[in-house]
Amino acid sequence: MSRIVVLRPDEPTPPPTTVGLAPRTVPEHPVVGLVSNGKPLAAELLQAIGRELHARLGEGEVELLRKPSAAYAITPAQAREMAARAHLVVTGVGD
């Protein structure tokens, strides 16, 4: 039996980047961000969750971002804006 050299066909996956957890304190006026992926009932599901969170967290705001297509991620600008305003972001899928 002879030995041969072969090339591996994949790219080694880099180890995941460690990201620190956001602070777990609840501000006086929490902003809950909701990102709907655009599928049927996704927004309705998230809004129900938003209402429940609003009731638990007290006065604050709930903001809903609807993606026009489930196939595309939100833009970096939308992500930055949401991160700057919201203290908690919930995403969800429909169908």
Binding site: M1, R3, I4, V6, P9, A70, A71, Y72, G94
Partner: protein, 369 residues
């Protein structure tokens, strides 16, 4: 076996099991990608630097280099002369409109369906005639397989990682064929895409499985095309009512009747787009609920109907197949056009230098077919 090196030295008899164990195959045996075989592929495309990226997928932070494409093409069983077609198809896969990140991960389980149009197809021995979607032709089988292996191995498109296909379908092993040049005055797809005469193009579509269309007793072109339109508007197809794209492959008899009766290719595409439109009542009769307030606008048009294909431009009409009783075929894209679209590229002949296209590959504007 845990593999950490880019090159492995193995007992020749252990190669297959090592590749299976590492999840590097599609379930079938592969040709061992030795450096010598890979170099032969890189030479054909004039790759001075094998680390050049064909394209990069920001959502996955992964890209495909010429070398990785060549390794996977060797594994698939390609010959070196097929590699320019593989590279062009991968360039199409990285077209932003193709949206490969979603195509490769969706539960809908789309195949990478590839149509090759132009002289290179016959030069490398592709099949656009009898059994063009079936087994038996090395170029058809292995070019399509090379795309899938690359997506699996480099982009993580495999079950358990980034491919969530609920079912998938056999076309996910390979789905590649060549256009049989159409009868005059119809023109090959490459020319209708805007590429110069004599050029070869690849068109990559995210496809469901191919379905045959039987029409063996009707020699009237409009009658034949009504049968095709009826196939396009099947309510259970996800894109029907929302507007997708479709690969429509007319067999020799059906294309011949259309040409003889004065139908142009644009006539056919416009007819199919119009006559495949479907009413909300027809969808509801099949148990399909209409979306409201979600990503798909399912508001009927002025004709009271909804599109199966988004427009005539979204009908990819080609001729292929062998003579017989009278068959055609079609495959719908797995999702509406708001999610992904077909993409085309010119195949650079062997020896033509690679352009410097930057980190995202070369984008060629979509032109009217």
């Amino acid at each position: 076996m845990a593999v950490v090196e880019d090159r492995l030295e193995l007992e020749e008899g252990d190669v297959q099991e090592t590749f299976f164990a590492n999840g590097w195959t599609d379930g079938l045996p592969v040709v061992p990608p030795t450096p010598e075989r890979v170099d032969a592929f890189l030479e054909v495309v004039g790759a001075d630097d094998p680390t050049v990226l064909i394209g990069f997928m920001p959502a996955r932070e992964r890209g495909v280099t010429l070398e990785k494409a060549a390794v996977n093409a060797v594994m698939a069983g390609c010959l070196p002369e097929y590699f320019p077609v593989v590279v062009a198809a991968l360039e199409a896969m990285f077209d932003a409109e193709f949206n490969a990140h979603t195509v490769l991960s969706s539960t809908g389980g789309a195949a990478l369906g590839l149509v090759v149009s132009g002289p290179i197809a016959s030069e490398i021995g592709m099949n656009g005639r009898y059994n063009c979607f079936g087994p038996g032709n090395r170029a058809n089988a292995t070019i399509g397989r090379a795309l899938r292996l690359t997506a699996m191995n480099v982009l993580g498109a495999r079950h358990g990682e980034l491919d969530a296909s609920s079912f998938g379908h056999p076309g996910k092993y390979t789905f590649c064929f060549s256009e049989d040049p159409p009868p005059a005055p119809w023109r090959p797809l490459a020319q209708r895409l805007g590429y110069a005469e004599g050029s070869t193009s690849v068109t990559l579509l995210p496809l469901e499985g191919v379905r045959q269309i039987a029409q063996q007793l009707n020699g009237d072109a409009e009658g034949i095309l009504r049968t095709v339109a009826a196939a396009l508007r099947t309510p259970e197809t996800f894109a029907v009512g929302k507007g997708g794209q479709a690969l429509v492959v007319l067999g020799p008899e059906h294309a011949g009747f259309c040409v003889a009766q004065g139908w142009s290719q644009d006539d056919v595409r416009e007819f199919l787009a119009r006559e495949s439109r479907i009413t909300p009542a027809e969808l509801e009769a099949a148990g399909v609920h209409l979306e409201s307030g979600a990503q798909h606008d399912m508001t009927p048009g002025d004709d009271g109907r909804l599109p199966a294909v988004a427009s005539a431009d979204d009908v990819f009409l080609v001729t292929a197949g062998g003579e017989g009783a009278g068959w055609s075929a079609y495959a719908p894209t797995w999702a509406p056009t708001i999610h992904a679209r077909a993409a085309s590229r010119r195949v650079r002949p062997a020896g033509e230098p690679l352009p410097d296209c930057g980190p995202d590959g070369c984008l060629i504007p979509v032109v009217k077919r």
